[in-house]
């Protein structure tokens, strides 16, 4: 049903650390690899080895440059479904194929009842949904629902593919509805934030901001600024005479 269920308190989601993401696209590739054979399989590509390849991906890694007039910095920015608490993609769905799970808040699509009208992708400001031309249905991040509850995997593997793949541990998975969970404490500690809060969709996922830049002498623990060398005091003797002679 497209009505949004009452939340059970559990809000599974991702936290992405923009300070340490190196923009390697391992999350995107690993996601594609897993999901091309998982719950939403296949993630169709067309013209995959041609000039204009086109295909369904649940993760997209942007690279931004920020500029405050003095400094620029580069920020790698993975973008995927934020599993919003007020997902407009769910309420606009005319068939009920798009739904939010009551037990953990994951937003999913029922591929058996999706009519492929694309309206949900129009309703999402975050570009989380991509249409599969070959299947005629919309597809999106499932938070690797077929991994996180998968008893045949070792416990260590029961996390989304993007989280497992990240070589810098920039991605974290957990229950953001529980204030005492490791992930919630991480968000608290690092000042994690939601994207475009002004739209009111209340994303569950959080992003950790890049840490303040250490580009001043004081940032590294040394003196705030180096004092200019004191005026040399000319002594007596040969070097004193030389100093005076050269300073003239």
């Amino acid at each position: 049903m497209t009505a949004i269920p009452k939340n059970s308190g559990k809000k599974l989601g991702l936290v992405t650390d923009l300070d340490i993401c190196v923009g390697c696209h391992a999350c995107a590739v690993s996601c594609k690899e897993w999901n091309a054979g998982g719950h939403s399989a296949p993630l169709t590509d067309s013209n995959a080895y041609g000039k204009e390849p086109h295909g369904v991906w649940f993760n997209r890694v942007h690279v931004y440059e920020t500029d405050d007039g003095m400094n620029t910095r580069t920020v790698n920015f993975p973008r995927s479904c934020l599993h919003c608490e007020q997902p407009a993609c769910v309420t606009v769905c005319p068939t009920g194929a798009s739904y939010k799970r009551e037990e953990d808040g994951i937003v999913l699509i029922n591929a058996e009842t999706c009519i492929g009208c694309k309206l949900c992708s129009w309703a999402c400001p975050y570009g989380a949904r991509e249409y599969d031309e070959a299947d005629g249905v919309m597809k999106k991040c499932t938070l690797c629902i077929d991994r996180i509850y998968n008893d045949t995997l070792t416990e260590y593997e029961r996390q989304p593919a993007c989280v497992s793949a990240c070589p810098t541990r920039a991605r974290h998975f957990g229950d953001l509805g529980d204030p005492d969970s490791e992930i919630s404490k991480l968000v608290e500690r690092r000042g994690g934030y939601a994207l475009m809060p002004e739209t009111g969709y209340q994303p569950v996922n959080r992003y950790l901001p890049p840490r303040p830049r250490k580009d001043r002498a004081g940032d590294t623990g040394s003196r705030d600024r180096l004092e200019p060398a004191p005026e040399p005091v000319s002594g007596d003797g040969f070097f004193g005479w030389l100093d005076k002679a050269l300073s003239r």
């Binding site: 295909g55 942007h62 931004y64 920020t66 068939t95 992708s121 400001p125 919309m138 002004e198 992003y207």
Partner: protein, 314 residues
């Protein structure tokens, strides 16, 4: 937004069809306009054909048209679903109302009831169509108070132009009626002009800074796109028409949709018989052309929030 021809055809065609049915129902209920019954039947059927063409075209662009029946289930939350429900509910009274023009044994009371139901459900369907767009907060150029009046006014205006042809064929296209049609057409374009003025001055709250949450670090620019070729998002939501083309197309829309039909309507007040019908037919065709250009622009000028991630502005 990508201006898909199926959606432009759907909104223009069903808008005109429902508009025509509203005029015909008004003609029956008002009783003042002397429509020739066979012509009225033909006009009602034309309205139904336009509505049906629109609905079929909107169905065929689905990924799974055979599942379209499922779309009537979520009317509690989805405007698209509500539109489907309203459109289906409109068929029985509209068919009865159409048949009633020639069906002598149909009680007048039932015909009147069918006319009211036709009017109400046709209006509701147009409202639902408009609300599908007006309810999308992701597209500031759609999510505003202008969109609903624009859709309703253009539905009545295009339906009115077609109704004038039917009245002329009945030999009853009097000066007052043509004046009324011209008034509504002018009003529709005035509302559209207000819409254009509004979107040109709009200052949306979101930009790439709020989309990424990096705005506090200064101006945020896209350095590298996440993919080397276009993806679904850019094809569907990244379409943008250049401002200078938009300005020219607005002039085309106003010329074809307002100036030309207005001149033909004025000429038609002086004409009679077949000559008048031909003039009014051309007025209707030009009016629909203008509205189609307007509808194409409605999509092409709309900007989606997801494009902020690709370094664009709203």
């Amino acid at each position: 937004m990508h201006p898909a021809y199926s959606v432009i055809l759907f909104t223009c065609s069903s808008g005109a069809g429902y508009g025509l049915l509203i005029w015909l129902a008004t003609a029956w209920l008002g009783g003042g306009w002397n429509l020739d019954p066979p012509t009225a039947l033909a006009a009602s059927l034309a309205g139904l054909v336009l509505v049906t063409i629109g609905l079929l075209s909107s169905t065929f662009h689905l990924g799974h048209p055979e599942r379209a029946w499922r779309a009537v289930s979520q009317w509690r939350s989805s405007w698209l679903s509500r539109e489907g429900v309203a459109a289906i509910l409109a068929y029985p009274p509209t068919l009865l109302f159409s048949a009633g023009w020639l069906w002598q044994s149909l009680p007048a009371g039932l015909m009147t009831l069918a006319a009211y139901a036709t009017m109400l459900l046709a209006t509701l369907t147009v409202i639902c169509t408009a609300m599908i767009y007006a309810s999308l907060k992701t597209i500031p150029r759609w999510s505003n108070a202008w969109v609903l009046p624009v859709y309703l006014a253009f539905s009545l205006a295009s339906g009115g132009l077609l109704f004038a042809v039917a009245m002329s064929l009945s030999g009853a296209a009097e000066r007052q009626l043509l004046g009324l049609v011209l008034g509504i057409l002018t009003l529709a374009w005035l509302i559209k002009w207000g819409y254009w003025r509004f979107i040109d001055r709009q200052r949306p709250a979101s930009d790439t800074g709020t989309a990424t949450g990096l705005g506090h670090l200064g101006e945020v620019r896209q350095l590298e796109a996440p993919h080397t070729s276009e993806n679904y998002l850019l094809k569907e939501m990244g379409y943008a028409v250049a401002r200078k083309h938009a300005a020219r197309l607005r002039r085309f829309a106003l010329t074809a949709g307002l100036a030309a039909p207005a001149a033909l309507l004025l000429l038609a007040t002086a004409a009679t018989g077949a000559g008048q019908s031909v003039l009014l037919l051309f007025a209707a065709l030009l009016g629909l052309t203008g509205i189609s250009i307007e509808r194409w622009l409605f999509f092409a000028e709309a900007r989606h929030q997801v494009t902020l991630y690709y370094g664009r502005s709203l």
